[in-house]
Amino acid sequence: MINKTHEKYDLINIISLPTLVILSLLIIWQIITLILDIPKWLLPSPITILMEIYNNFSLLIRHSLVTIQEIFFGFIFALILGIALAISIDKSSVVEKSIYPLVIASQTIPIIAITPLLLVWIGYGIFTKIIIVALISFFPIVVNMVDGLRSTDISIEKMAITLGANKFQLLTLIRIPSSLPYLFSGMKIGISISVIGAVIGEWVGASSGLGYLMLQSAPRFQTSLVFASIFFLSIIGISLFTFIQVLEYKLVRWNRFSNY
């Protein structure tokens, strides 16, 4: 009995409530645009955006697929690079003190400022976009993973050492598993901002993708198409975030019980 009602409540929570909140936000938005008579070129109303999506659905899907592809490869690349880098930073204080500042520096460089370099050296194919997605999303992964590795409980580590664990086993059996909760936070941040990475990548030079579509539409004052693209980008971002969260739930549920 108790379980049943609980489930029902959960269902309300998971589906109805957020839908309700978002729907009411959309309604408020609609009403505001109507009442304040906000012109469509500045902020289109939800209905206008919806119409735009309806009218350009296949166009939006086609561009979305390009963007998703860039995000996918870029993020995988970021993940591999980020984890590898985090492990080396964690392992060696030389690497930490010499590479970590460069990693931080890489985040402070506005990509737009180095587009000529990227274009000349890498071109405007998908590879540039993958690099930019990776460049943007690997940083949270590195920082969180380094902190995760460093949060490894000293007593657990000592225990493994007495069992004879070598450096490699310590890493794979103890440090990496215990860093997972942090890694997942980093991945969630990384995957969300990788969406913007793809857009910026497409901005550097592209002929397809949602970023391209947006920046094409903006100067034409097709603001509702811009918002339709943003809507698709958001859906992509939220889906990817949720996917990683589900994975996290499966893999690091133990996190809350570590001391018990």
């Binding site: 000592k158 069992l163 004879g164 059996l173 690091v252």
Partner: protein
């Protein structure tokens, strides 16, 4: 007589002039004064002493996990640091990996020593049964009781059959019955494999039942105040608690601790 008993066999662990100081805030606390002890291969030694006297610290130093400020520990002719991994050490805190279930925690030592998981399962399964954990193979650490956790930690320590075993209050969270079972099991194991065991305990009776030698430590700083060789044969152990000599030794030890 007692000295005689301990001159037999080769020294496997040699603890020489160990000193250790900790800094807590701005106070320097001398934890271990000057400890010297030789342990022969195949012997079972117990340390008893007041809480906070430095027993765990001493065991950490023997295990090579901590460095003494001066002095050294030699195990099998090597500095203890080089013996890390060849010594089984059951810590006071169980240190179970929260992301592994009971059986995967149990096989950790075997796995680290290069045995495949499936094979390791075969090795620990009979032990699991003896330890009363069979039903909980798949349980996660937070789903088992405090005493069960302690048993898993003990199992993990002995499963890969190290030559030297260090035990920090292995039975502290167990009821009398389970404790007796495991004590008996441990005694058999160490006799069979001729392992050298150092155990920390608060229970004088337990120390007498299991050990060849009991060392009483006191605090500020930690040093050995009494050394008792237990004169019972290994085989007759565990059945001597009602013996007169046993009672005498027990009160002797209690007295030493109270000093």
């Amino acid at each position: 007589m007692a000295g005689d008993f301990f001159l037999k066999g080769i020294t496997i662990i040699s603890i020489e002039n160990i000193k250790k100081t900790f800094m807590v805030k701005n106070n320097q606390i001398e934890v271990i004064g000057n400890i010297n002890i030789q342990i022969k291969k195949g012997k079972f030694i117990s340390f008893v002493g007041p809480s906070g006297c430095g027993k765990t610290t001493l065991l950490n130093i023997i295990a090579g996990l901590e460095s003494p400020d001066s002095g050294r520990v030699i195990i099998s002719s090597k500095p203890s640091k080089e013996m890390i991994g060849k010594i089984g050490y059951m810590h006071q805190k169980d240190g179970l990996l929260p992301w592994r279930n009971v059986i995967d925690n149990s096989v950790l030592g075997l796995e680290i020593n290069g045995i495949k998981r499936t094979q390791a399962y075969e090795i620990v399964r009979p032990l699991m049964k003896q330890f009363g954990l069979s039903e909980f193979e798949e349980a996660m650490p937070w789903e088992i009781s405090g005493g069960m956790r302690q048993r898993v930690a003990l199992l993990r320590t002995v499963a890969y059959e190290p030559e030297v075993i260090l035990l920090d209050e292995p039975f502290g969270a167990l009821d009398a019955l389970t404790r007796e079972d495991l004590q008996f099991w441990l005694l058999q194991l160490y006799q069979k494999l001729n392992q050298t065991v150092i155990m920390i305990t608060h229970d004088i009776e337990e120390a007498l039942i299991l050990s060849d030698k009991v060392c009483v430590l006191n605090d500020s700083p930690c040093s050995i105040v009494k050394n008792i060789d237990v004169p019972f044969e290994k085989s007759e152990k565990h059945r001597n608690t009602s013996n007169v000599e046993f009672a005498k030794l027990k009160s002797e030890l209690s007295y030493a601790i109270r000093e």
